[in-house]
Symmetry: C2
Subunit: 216 residues, 2 copies
DNA sequence: TAGATTGTTAATCGATTAACAATC
DNA sequence: TAGATTGTTAATCGATTAACAATC
C-alpha cells in the first residue's frame, strides 16, 4: 500500500464520500461502483481503481457496504478524527465560515475566532466568543488546533498565516484575495472567488462545454 | 486553433495572468517562460506549450512583452470584457462576496444583490442597495447580467439557481453547502469550504507532501 | 556573431478506460 | 447455477517534459 496516490484520487475520494453519505441518508445499505459512477458522472472502473489503491473493500457480485465504505474513506482522508479549526477575521467572511454548517458532519469544528478590533472582541458569532488576536498562540496550543483559516484583508493575510504557523497550524486555508505561503511542512490552500470565476469564464466565452465541479 | 484545450491549461492561464499582473506592477516590461515558471513553480516548457495552443505571442531570444501577454490571456479567458454579477443572499457570505475587491481588476462587477428578507431589502452593502428577490428577473434582463452567485442557505440554493438560469445567467457560482445543477448550456461551479478542507486534510494525516493551490 | 529564448516535435510519464478472470 | 460486480491487468488516452532547430 506504499503506492503514490494521485491528487485526482484524493479529490474524487471526497466526492465519493459526499455521495455515499447522501445515499446512506436515503437508506441505501449497499452500493456498487456503477451506482456511484452514475450519480457523480465518473467511470466505475476509475472508482474501483481509486479504492483499490487503499485496499479491497467490496464484495464481488454484491458491491460495497455503504457504512463500511464511508468509514474506510473517512479513515483514509483522516476525517474520522476530530479536527479543530481557528478562524482569524471576524468580518462577514469569517462569520460565514464560522456559521458554515457542514463542517461538523466531517469531524471539523471551529473552536476559536480571532480579531484585532477591540469592538469585536468579546462579541459572539453563534455561540463562539471572538477572542483577541494576541491570544492566538496560547489558545491554539491549549486547544490543540491544527487548522487555521485566514479571513482577513489581504494586506495582513501573510502575517496572519505566519502567526498561525508559529502557533502550530498544520493546514492553512486562505480566503484573502492574495496568495500566502508557508513552510513545506504546512499545507496551504489558497482559495479565491476570482480564480474560480476566471476559470469558469473561459467556458462562457465560447471556450467549451463541460461539467464543472472541481475540488476547491 | 481549433484544438481541444485541456482543463489544466485554463487553470494555469489564470495563474499566469495573476503572475504577469504582479510582475507588471513591479515594472517588468518583458518576461520569459523561465521567469514565470520559477515564480509559480511550473515547467517553462509547459507554459510555452499552453500559450502555443492559442497562438505565438513571444519573441525568440527575448521572451514575452508583459503587457501584450496580459492582454492576450485576458482575451483568451474573456476577462477583457466587462462581466456583470448578481449575488443572491445578503447574509455574511453574500456581503463578503459583494465586498470582494479583486473582481474589478478582472472586468467583473457585482451590480445587483437580492434577498427575500423584507428587513434587508432597501439596506445597502457598500454602495449597492439590496433588492427584493422578486425583481430578479427584471433586473438581470435589464442590466444584462450573465453571472449569478448563490449565497443562500442550502435548502433554497437549487431554487435560486433555477431562478438565476431562468433570468438568463450563463454562469452559476454556488457557495451554498450543497451541489446544485443546471442545464448543460450553463456552467455551474459548486464551491465549498468543506471540499477544500477534506482535500487538504489528506495531506495532513500522513498522506503526502505537496504544493497546494488548485483553481477554486 | 554569441547568447538567449521561443515554438514545436518527439519521448516520457501518468491517469483513465476497457476487459475479464475471480468470486460472491 | 446464473447473474452481478469486484479487483486487477493490459490498452488507450492525454498531459507533461526534454530536446532542439528557428530566430530574435
Amino acid at each position: 500500500m506504499k503506492k503514490r496516490i494521485p491528487d485526482g484520487t484524493i479529490e474524487r475520494l471526497a466526492q465519493y464520500l459526499d455521495c455515499l453519505m447522501e445515499l446512506k441518508r436515503n437508506g441505501r445499505t449497499t452500493v456498487s461502483s456503477k451506482d456511484i459512477g452514475e450519480i457523480i458522472d465518473i467511470n466505475p472502473a476509475e472508482i474501483r481503481r481509486d479504492l483499490a489503491l487503499f485496499g479491497s473493500f467490496g464484495k464481488r457480485g454484491v458491491g460495497y457496504d455503504t457504512d463500511d465504505l464511508i468509514n474506510r474513506i473517512k479513515k483514509i482522508m483522516g476525517s474520522d478524527e476530530q479536527h479543530k479549526i481557528a478562524v482569524v477575521g471576524a468580518g462577514n467572511l469569517g462569520s460565514a465560515i464560522v456559521s458554515y454548517g457542514k463542517f461538523k458532519l466531517h469531524g471539523f469544528s471551529v473552536v476559536a475566532v480571532f480579531d484585532n478590533d477591540p469592538a469585536k472582541v468579546g462579541q459572539k458569532i453563534g455561540n463562539l466568543v471572538i477572542s483577541d488576536l494576541k491570544d492566538i498562540n496560547k489558545q491554539m496550543v491549549d486547544k490543540n488546533i491544527t487548522i487555521g483559516v485566514v479571513a482577513t484583508p489581504p494586506v495582513v493575510a501573510q502575517d496572519i498565516a505566519d502567526m498561525l504557523v508559529d502557533a502550530g497550524a498544520r493546514i492553512i486555508l486562505n480566503y484573502a484575495p492574495i496568495t500566502v505561503t508557508a513552510p513545506k511542512s504546512v499545507t496551504v490552500h489558497n482559495t479565491s472567488p476570482l480564480k474560480e470565476l476566471l476559470y469558469t469564464l473561459y467556458y462562457l466565452s465560447g471556450g467549451g462545454k463541460r461539467k464543472c465541479s472541481k475540488a476547491g
